[in-house]
């Protein structure tokens, strides 16, 4: 049957009249129904980046250590020395997770893992960066946030644990702005030898094209275009667009593909993610400067009677497209039989640059591959700047009870211990986790390469809401600071841009500001962007989410003895604050939680100060002078020093004295000024340590001593005292308490 192409049908495919005109120009004729579907997914925001491409161009993607650039392939690759490289990337599954949190999050993990082994790398660890609405309280909203939260975490655990890749870190914020539109960003890193880098290009005219992995079903139809629209009541009707993952198949596919790549018979390989068979065929052809011809009748199918349209647009999980060196077909058979996985030769590489899809020999689709993949329209979106945000005036903030304030801040789910989450993730499989979740950055020992890697994800959405450019800069700075505190030298970045509807000029202004902030900071910290992902249309009835340009950063630690943790270790160690005492309270957790004011100008970043502080901390660590290092972030010095006391296996007290410091104590304790690190130093090292800092001309101060069972903070005006055991209880079990409330 022939479906007639009506303006209505074009609209329902999310294509504008102009875009349709462009399609006709490319084809020199009207597209048929199946071709229309193909264009609609390839030209959706998710696959074509039509609204963000011009912005992404601003990100620095090159550097001496960059082996594969962002955008070239499924994920970038960075040199870590001795012939080893790492491939890493972050991807979002926000919309699927909003509609079906367990499967949405699970398939998000499956997808990013495939992106990494598609590069020829063996995935070695995962991180997850999550955002939800508030989970405390008895309101229906809080209940549904709890459900989303626990299902998302269970879904990530379901896939990651089963595949046997440890989830060793991440971050979680709970905030109004993510109500009903949670963010689920998953990061995966893989390891490979330089010569093992695999390409997603259809090379070698005449080479056979293989389909491997799960059979194609009707699941996830047009998820790509689904992820490119506002989340509305109707999208509940889009539910069939959510696909079900099979981590068991995912694990077999991973092992089989790595074995096949090692056999040297692979000319090109591409995962089937968004837009499935469509995206993988036309992208491999366009990367290879070739054409690809496949026959859908040969595609393994789960359900009878699927139409060409359905097969091409299906987003069934655990599938790959592999271009095999002619004559090596037997190897594919041997390996995929061994792993009991379906596979089929579905076509061949051609020389005419056309993506040609047959069905039982009859031509269904005939589109110039390169144009389909790269000639999506590119839009310059209109922007309108937010009005400038005022500076907070401390006089307007009534001093709060500081004893209670610290307890409440530590119990705030955004700040509280995340053990309820990471204990559900297998974070010790692969026997390489040296610093498990719970310190500034996770540290993983890659045995095959004999390398220590540190990784973290960071982004404060509220900072970005109140000043997107500054917020993005700070995300990069904090990520780098977290790595440095663990003893690592920052290497490179992957980012995940989570924003609202790009057709709202205010949203697009946030995106542009944030990308320019990211770009600038990545240059200053010398950490090129290896890739990432854009998720737009993150809206709920109250409008767009806080802009959230999540930064994932990876670093290397050259020597085991440099590995540093955040918590205090021994009594009578001396506590130093590296960096200023700070004063900026705007957008702080103290104002948000204790004073109920989510407003004012967020902290500002000084590159020179930040780079100076990081250089000193790293130098001190490398000279073996540091027993612990923890940066000040949400909740400022007060929360950070408390965490130093309670986040280790053995809890220990500390006494801190700010002497005659003029500012109000709440401002001293809870300001969130950047570029600050709390370190502890053995008494015998004090001399050496102070010499290094003085030489660096970085502000630093001796603020106290480790020991006892209380945390004591005093100025010459007042003295505060907390029982460390109480601080621990407030902080450690807070999320557990929230989740066990009905």
């Amino acid at each position: 049957m022939v479906t007639e192409i009506t303006p209505e049908l074009i609209r329902r495919h999310g294509l504008t009249v102009e875009e349709y005109g462009r399609i006709k120009a490319i084809l020199g004729r009207d597209p048929n129904f199946t071709e229309l579907g193909v264009f609609s997914v390839m030209w959706s925001e998710h696959c074509s980046y039509k609204n963000t491409r011009l912005e992404l161009k601003k990100l620095p993607t090159t550097g001496p250590k960059v082996l594969v650039k962002a955008g070239e392939e499924n994920a970038g690759v960075i040199d870590i020395g001795d012939g080893w490289g790492v491939a890493f990337k972050m991807e979002s599954h926000n919309h699927p997770s909003a509609v079906e949190p367990f499967q949405g999050a699970a398939t998000g993990v499956g997808g990013i893992i495939r992106d990494i082994f598609t590069m020829g790398a063996r995935p070695v660890f995962l991180l997850d960066s999550l955002r939800f609405g508030p989970i405390r309280g008895t309101t229906p909203a809080a209940k549904s946030n709890r459900r989303l939260f626990s299902e998302v975490v269970a879904g990530i655990a379901h896939y990651g644990n089963c595949v046997g890749i440890p989830t060793i870190g991440g971050e979680i914020y709970f905030d109004q702005s993510y109500e009903g539109n949670p963010l689920v960003n998953v990061f995966c890193l893989g390891i490979l030898r330089h010569q093992q880098i695999a390409r997603g290009a259809a090379k070698g005219v005449g080479n056979p094209v293989f389909y491997v992995g799960s059979e194609t079903g009707r699941d996830g139809l047009a998820g790509a275009s689904f992820a490119s629209r506002d989340l509305t009541e109707e999208s509940k009707q889009d539910r069939p667009a959510v696909q079900v993952g099979d981590p068991f198949k995912g694990k077999l596919l991973l092992e089989a593909c790595l074995e096949l790549l090692a056999s040297g018979c692979v000319a090109g390989i591409q995962d089937m993610g968004a837009a499935g068979l469509t995206c993988s065929t036309c992208e491999t052809a366009s990367r290879g400067g070739t054409g690809v011809e496949i026959d859908l009748a040969l595609v393994p199918q789960r359900e009878p009677g699927m139409t060409p349209y359905e097969i091409l647009l299906s987003e069934s999980q655990e599938r790959m497209l592999i271009i095999v060196e002619r004559g090596r077909e037997a190897t594919v058979k041997e390996i995929f039989d061994k792993w009991d996985l379906p596979y089929a030769c579905v076509g061949k590489v051609t020389d005419d640059g056309v993506m040609r899809v047959l069905n039982h020999g009859r031509v269904e689709v005939e589109i110039p591959a390169e144009k389909l993949a790269n000639d999506a329209p590119v839009y310059e979106r209109e922007v309108v700047a937010d009005p400038p945000v005022p500076e907070v005036r401390i006089e307007d903030i009534p001093p709060a009870d500081l004893h209670e304030s610290l307890m409440r801040l530590l119990a705030e789910p955004t700040i509280a211990s995340k053990n309820w989450v990471y204990r559900q993730y297998d974070h010790t499989v692969r026997a390489g986790t040296v610093v498990p979740p719970g310190s500034d950055a996770a540290v993983f020992y890659v045995r095959e390469a004999d390398k220590y890697l540190a990784a973290t994800t960071d982004c404060n959405g509220l900072y970005c809401k109140l000043n997107p450019r500054e917020g993005a800069r700070i995300a990069v700075a904090e990520a780098a600071r977290n790595l440095v505190c663990s003893g690592a030298k920052p290497l490179a970045v992957t980012d995940n841009l989570n924003f609202g509807n790009p057709y709202h000029p205010a949203n697009f202004w946030q995106l542009r500001e944030a990308v320019e902030g990211l770009a600038e900071a990545c240059r200053r910290f010398d950490t090129p962007v290896t890739g990432g992902n854009v998720s737009l249309y993150n809206q709920n009835p109250n409008g767009a989410i806080d802009p959230t340009p999540t930064v994932g950063m990876v670093g290397v630690i050259d020597q085991e003895r440099w590995i540093t943790r955040q918590y205090f270790r021994d009594a009578s160690d001396v506590i130093y604050l590296i960096g200023p005492i700070g004063h900026e309270l705007g957008a702080s957790q103290y104002l948000t939680i204790i004073h109920g004011r989510r407003e004012f100008l967020p902290p500002r970043l000084s590159y020179d100060l930040e780079l100076g502080v990081q250089a000193v901390v790293l130098a001190l660590i490398q000279q073996g002078l540091v027993k612990s290092a923890h940066d000040c972030s949400e909740g400022g010095f007060g929360v950070a020093v408390a965490e130093c006391c309670i986040s280790g296996e053995r809890r220990i007290g500390a006494s801190v004295d700010f002497g005659h410091w003029p500012e109000r104590l709440d401002q001293i304790l809870f300001n969130e000024s950047q570029s600050r690190v709390i370190i502890s130093v053995g008494a015998e090292e004090v001399g050496a340590m102070e010499t290094v800092c003085a030489a660096a001309e970085i502000p630093f101060g001796r603020v106290g001593e480790v020991g006892g069972s209380d945390l004591i903070i005093s100025t010459q005006r007042e003295t505060l005292r907390w029982d460390v055991a109480e601080l621990y209880q407030a902080w450690y079990a807070s999320i557990e308490r929230a989740m066990s409330s009905q």
């Binding site: 269970a154 655990a157 644990n161 089963c162 595949v163 046997g164 099979d246 981590p247 068991f248 198949k249 694990k251 077999l252 792993w339 009991d340 990471y422 204990r423 559900q424 993730y425 297998d426 974070h427 010790t428 499989v429 692969r430 026997a431 390489g432 986790t433 040296v434 020992y445 045995r447 085991e560």
Partner: protein, 234 residues
């Protein structure tokens, strides 16, 4: 001497187990594919952790029928030392080589954390080297690790001293708080009557390197090697 590490589809601690043996205690070890039908050439068998066959239906239920398991059961009945770790323990129970079953954690959540283990018997090839009552440190990581069996079986497990490990605190005291999954009697590992087959939920394969925070796993595998030594001279 050569030790087999069985690979089922969905095993994901196979590499960790192999490394624990080859890099950890420097003995010869090789993978044994689930489609193989014999264990000849090996002096002991390790069933590693993971999600064999996706753990669909029940953990270990499908793996138990894979070709290699017939050979493992035969060898075990002839006295070959066999250890099942985590999913391997579940498979041994499903295969009837060990009594009882491992059911969903009481918390209904997957649990990954370090635990302390009290060693309850030295009379197995895997614990011979361990001083009685000494506590070991290693991680657990499972969703179905709650050991369950009927009262009679439980009684005979205790009276025949077939309980090999119990969850305990750092001082070796068995407390409810130190039990991560609700196992009966805090059971973390057991052996068969002949004492050559041991199953345990915790992961010695993740505790054989100072970097990982504990080397206690080496003691287990080390015991095995000593127990096997005579085999070579035979």
């Amino acid at each position: 001497m050569k030790i087999a590490v069985v690979q089922f589809p969905g095993s994901n601690c196979d590499q960790d187990c192999l490394r624990a043996l080859t890099d950890g205690i420097h003995v010869q070890a090789e993978y044994l594919w689930h489609k193989e039908t014999s264990v000849s050439g090996f002096q002991a068998v390790v069933l590693p952790g993971g999600f064999s066959y996706g753990d669909y239906l029940r953990c270990g239920a499908i793996a138990r029928f894979s070709p290699i398991m017939r050979a493992v059961v035969r060898a075990a009945n002839e006295g070959m030392p066999v250890i099942g770790i985590c999913n391997g323990f579940q498979i041994l129970c499903e295969a009837g080589l060990l009594p009882g079953a491992l059911i969903r954690n009481q918390s209904l959540r997957f649990v990954c954390q370090p635990v302390w283990l009290r060693v309850e018997t030295e009379e197995t090839p895997f614990t011979a080297k361990l001083k009685g009552q000494s506590v070991l440190r290693m991680p657990v990581a499972h969703g179905e690790g709650c050991f369950f069996t009927d009262p009679t079986t439980l009684g005979s497990l205790e009276s025949k001293r077939q309980v090999v490990f119990r969850y305990a605190d750092a001082l070796g005291k068995v407390t409810p708080e130190s039990n991560p999954n609700g196992s009966m009697h805090g059971i973390a590992g057991i052996c068969n009557e002949a004492r050559n087959v041991v199953g345990m939920m915790p992961h010695p394969d993740r505790a054989w390197d100072r970097k990982l925070g504990s080397e206690d796993g080496k003691l287990l595998f080390g015991s095995l090697v000593e127990a096997l030594e005579p085999v070579i001279f035979r």
